[in-house]
Subunit: 335 residues, 2 copies
DNA sequence: GTGAAAGCGCTAACAA
DNA sequence: TTGTTAGCGCTTTCAC
C-alpha cells in the first residue's frame, strides 16, 4: 500500500522504487517498467502528504477569491485551473465568502498551512495585516484583476478600457453618454470600478463633452442593478444617446430596461459594456472584451515558474479590445 | 518555525505543544495560553502535510467538476465551500476540463493521492474504470445532481420537476406545449436532461395532450442554444402556446427569440424554465426553482460526517418548487 | 498534566 | 544503476 510494499515485492530498495516511480533517468528502463507494473498491480496510490513533507513542495497552488459566483472569477479560475492541470499541480480554492465571511480565520487557518506552494489572488484587496501575514509565508503570489498595493497583478488597463469605449461611441457621433458603474459590494477589487469610471470621465472630458452628474449611475455591477439604474435613467427626461456600462452584465440589464421603456437599441439609445460575457454575443452587445481565462493562465504560469525558482517578473497589461456588435450605432439625426 | 521551536522557547516538550495547539483538555489552561501566545509571536504556521502524514487525515475534500463555468456547478461549489469552511476543511478543486480534458490522468494523478478525505462529484457520470478506481481509494463520496449508477446522490427529482412545470402550464389552459432541452455536451450528467424530458413527455401524455416531434427541441442547455431553438420554432407555422425549457438559461434565450420574432410573452406564448437562475428574477421568468447551494452544503455535510466515521446515509430528493412570475399566463382566448 | 520515543510514507544526500 | 541512512514536522502510544 506504500512504496515499501513495492520495494519488497520487487526486491528493490525504497529509494530505487521512489526514483523509478518518478521516472528518474538514473534508473534502468527495465527497472522502471517493472516497478510501474508492480505498483499498478498493487493499486499503489502515492501520498502527497509524505512527498510534500519530504520535499517541502506540495505541488498545489491556492486560489483566493472574494466570492465564487461572479463571471470574472469563474473565468479566471478556469484559466488558472487549466494551466495548473497542465503542469500537474492541484488547485486549492480559498473562498473568503464575501464581505461578511470571516476572512481572518480563513487566512491563518488554511491559506498559510503550507498546503500550497503559491497563491493566486483574484481581484483582491488586502488590508495591511493580511498582506503582512501573507508576506510572512514567503509564497510567491500574484493578483488577477485590479492593481493591489504591493503586489504584482495581471489584468487589463481599466482606464484604457473606458477610453476605447468612449472612442467608439464618440466616433459614432454620440455626445451625450451616460455611465453605469458603481461598486460590487461582494468583493470586486474596489480599484477596478474607480479606474473604469475615472477613465470614462477623463475620456469624455478630453473630448469636451458635458457630463451631468445624473448620468453617472450606480448599477452595482450586476444584471439587476444595471436594469434598475437604466430604468430610473429612462424614466427621467433628457436622455443620453448612449449608455456605457462598466460591465456586460449591467449592459444586459440596460438592454432589458430599454425594452421595457419602449426604447429601441441602438435607434433610440446605444448601449455597450465591458468584459466579453457569453450572453453578450447572442444578444449582439457591443463591448470592450477582455480575456479572464487567459489572465488566469498567465498568472498560473508565472506562479509555477517562480515555484521552480524563476525570478519574479513584472507583467504588462493584458489586452482588451473593442467588439462592435449591434447595440451601438450612429446617433440618430435630429438628436 | 515548527512545533519544536515553540517547545524550546516555552521549555515544554513537542508533545505538549502539539496538544496545546489543538486545545486538548488534558493540557493545563495556562499552558495552552502560553503556547498559543508564543506560537503567535513566532509566527508559527502548522504544516498540513506533516499533520496529514501523521494522522492520515488531510482535512480537505475534493470537488470534481466536469467543467467549472456552468451556473449549477458554480452554485453547488459555493454550497460545498461554505460548509467545508465552517468545518475547517480545505477544498481541492478537480476540474475534468470538459469532454476533451484528459480525465484519466486527472483521476490517477491527483484525485487519489490521499490529498483529500472525501470526494464530492458534481453531476458526474463515471465509467466503469473510473468508478472502480475511485472505489479502490475507499474515500467516502457522493454526487450532486443527476443520479449516478452505484453512487449516492443529492439532487432534485427531475421527473417531478417537469411534472410541476406541466401542471402549472396545463392549469393555465395550455394544451400545446413545446419542450426545449437537449444535452449539455460539456459534461452535465447525461441523466438529468433525459429525466426532465421524460418527465415532461409523461406529464403531457398523462393529460392527454398531443406532442408532435417538432415540439421537442434541442437547446444544448445554453442561452445561445435556447435562443436558436426557439427562433427556429417561432419561424415555423403552428406555434405552441407555451414553451417549457429544461433550464432557465435556455428559457432566457427563448425570451430573446420571442422578442425578436415579435411575439409577446406571455400574451402570444408563455415561457418557463428550471433552476432559479438570478437573471430569471429580474426578467420575471417563471421557473421551477431548485437550490444548488443547499445541495452543495448538504453533500459536504454528509461527507464530513462520514469522514468522522458516521455511517453512510441515503438521501431524500432535494426540494424544487414552482416560482410563478410574469412569463407565463393563461392561454389567450381564441387560440 | 507532561515527556520520550516511535513512527506516518516519502525524498535526498552519500556511498557503493 | 542501486542501496543506506537520515530526516521532513507532526501525532500518538506509553510512561511518569
Amino acid at each position: 500500500m506504500g512504496i515499501q510494499e513495492i520495494a519488497t515485492v520487487t526486491g528493490l530498495s525504497k529509494s530505487t522504487v521512489s526514483r523509478a516511480l518518478r521516472g528518474m533517468s538514473s534508473v534502468a528502463d527495465t527497472t522502471i517498467d517493472q516497478v510501474r507494473r508492480v505498483a499498478d498491480e498493487l493499486g499503489y496510490v502515492p501520498s502527497s502528504a509524505a512527498a510534500g513533507l519530504a520535499t517541502g513542495r506540495q505541488r498545489a497552488v491556492g486560489v483566493v477569491v472574494p466570492v465564487i459566483d461572479r463571471w470574472f472569477y469563474v473565468k479566471a479560475l478556469c484559466g488558472v485551473d487549466a494551466e495548473l492541470r497542465r503542469a500537474g499541480y492541484d488547485l486549492v480554492l480559498y473562498n473568503l465568502g464575501g464581505p461578511r465571511g470571516d476572512r481572518d480565520r480563513a487566512f491563518r487557518r488554511s491559506m498559510l498551512r503550507h498546503r500550497v506552494d503559491a497563491l493566486v489572488l483574484l481581484s483582491l484587496v488586502l488590508d495591511e495585516t493580511e498582506r503582512a501575514e501573507l508576506e510572512l509565508s514567503r509564497h510567491p503570489m500574484i493578483v488577477i484583476g485590479g492593481p493591489a498595493p504591493g503586489l504584482r497583478n495581471v489584468g487589463v488597463d481599466d482606464v484604457v478600457v473606458s477610453g476605447l469605449a468612449v472612442d467608439h461611441l464618440h466616433g459614432l457621433g454620440h455626445r451625450d453618454i451616460a455611465y453605469i458603474g458603481g461598486q460590487d459590494e461582494d468583493g470586486m477589487n474596489v480599484a477596478v470600478p474607480y479606474l473604469r469610471r475615472d477613465g470614462f470621465v477623463e475620456a469624455v472630458q478630453a473630448r469636451g463633452l458635458t457630463l451631468p452628474d445624473r448620468w453617472l449611475l450606480d448599477g452595482r455591477f450586476s444584471f439587476a442593478g444595471g436594469a434598475a439604474a437604466a430604468s430610473a435613467l429612462f424614466a427621467g427626461g433628457d436622455l443620453p444617446t448612449a449608455v456605457y456600462c462598466a460591465s456586460d452584465e449591467m449592459a444586459l440589464g440596460v438592454l432589458l430596461a430599454a425594452q421595457r421603456a419602449g426604447l429601441s437599441v441602438p435607434g433610440d439609445v446605444s448601449v455597450m459594456g465591458v468584459d466579453g460575457h457569453e450572453y453578450g454575443a447572442t444578444v449582439g452587445l457591443t463591448t470592450v472584451a477582455q480575456d479572464p481565462v487567459a489572465q488566469g493562465r498567465r498568472a498560473a504560469q508565472v506562479m509555477i515558474a517562480e515555484i521552480d525558482g524563476a525570478a519574479p517578473v513584472s507583467l504588462p497589461p493584458e489586452p482588451a479590445h473593442l467588439v462592435i456588435r449591434s447595440t451601438t450605432g450612429p446617433v440618430r439625426a435630429g438628436r
